[in-house]
Chain length 186, copies 2
DNA sequence: CTGTTATTTGAGCATAGACTCTAATTTGAG
DNA sequence: CTCAAATTAGAGTCTATGCTCAAATAACAG
């Protein structure tokens, strides 16, 4: 892939794949469906991707990146910043949020590649949350900080999980409540 | 199906289906895999079930029933009882917990039957949690009670979601933390 | 323009999956 | 024991899916 046309086609295919994973799931996303949606024929698909799995992995990477735009930036985010960023991700990028949740369930089950990625991402995320908590509560033990961060991150994913099922579910209310509760007793 | 042999075969098939959904997911669960695992041939399967979907739905029902053994019993459970029961379910019945989480993601997406069941179950569960909160905090407004119940139930599902990915994840610690936090600021 | 390389086309292959059918076997009520 | 009904066996059908390939077309560096 070196010409402009190829790059555009690649993009159309990835968009189609993303939309399909979000609506049909990983297994329900077929080559035919991707090609129809992208307005492309199988030959073109296989000119740009080695396999269906490769296209799916690209979308998986997009989703993970979208959750945590800058995972190494152990910066000055407050816990509230992190939660608000997550709320925005879930509400503004519905398709990617769906992909993100499906990752954990369908993807991780039988694909070690996806499982590894997801777990590493989760750990990084917990570390980031823990750092924020630690900044706001310097006296809290490291163990306690870590535990609170992990509880919060998994709980937030639960909220997203429910949102994926029920589009009317108000993510922001429940996510903010989790944030408040998480540090209420400190 | 009226003879004893048929009932036993039916049972073997459902066990196999349950195990397979837990390990491979709904789409990964094929007739051949079910039959191999159950030690049965396709002809027997279709003598007892109309379709693959019917077998899956039976297991789905099992999973939902196992989460909330007695959903109409708006009894005297405390919130802690409910959380502990859920912890036990997740840790003691790993396969069904996996099925339960997959329900929400893979199942609900394209199967209105499963989606409806899951949503109804969720509502019932939230109501049960809300009733327990209300009993323990009679002065709390109904709206607030409901919201706290819903946050807690979805957060607990998030903990289960993570446990499904990482068997080493300590459900009880995080679930109990959610319980404590949920009412810490009251 | 030209020639090389990238891209697209679309028919086609191989495999796997859901499900069917008929003949044989087993069950158990009377 | 008997016989109708239930169950099992297992080969076979049909469709969908992932992927390939050779030929035709488009892109673009020089």
């Amino acid at each position: 892939m070196r010409y402009k046309a190829g790059l555009e086609t690649r993009d159309k295919i990835l968009q189609a794949t993303r939309k399909l994973i979000a609506s049909e799931g990983m297994d329900g996303t077929t080559i035919k469906a991707i090609c129809d949606q992208a307005g492309v024929l199988p030959g073109s698909f296989y000119n740009l991707f080695d396999s269906k799995e490769q296209a799916i992995l690209s979308v998986v990477r997009q989703a993970i990146d979208a959750v945590d735009p800058d995972p190494d930036h152990l910066g000055t985010d407050t816990l509230s910043d992190l939660v608000e960023a997550y709320i925005e991700f879930v509400t503004e990028q519905g398709d990617l949020a769906r992909v993100y949740i499906r990752l954990a369930v369908s993807g991780s089950a039988n694909n070690p590649e996806i499982w590894g990625r997801t777990m590493r991402h989760h750990q990084g995320r917990v570390a980031r949350f823990a750092a924020a908590i630690s900044r706001e509560h310097p006296l809290m033990s490291e163990l306690e900080t870590e535990r609170r961060a992990e509880t919060l991150v998994t709980a937030l994913n639960g909220v997203t999980l429910h949102r994926v099922m029920d589009p009317g579910f108000d993510v922001s209310v429940h996510a903010r409540a989790l944030l408040t509760d998480a540090l209420a007793g400190v």
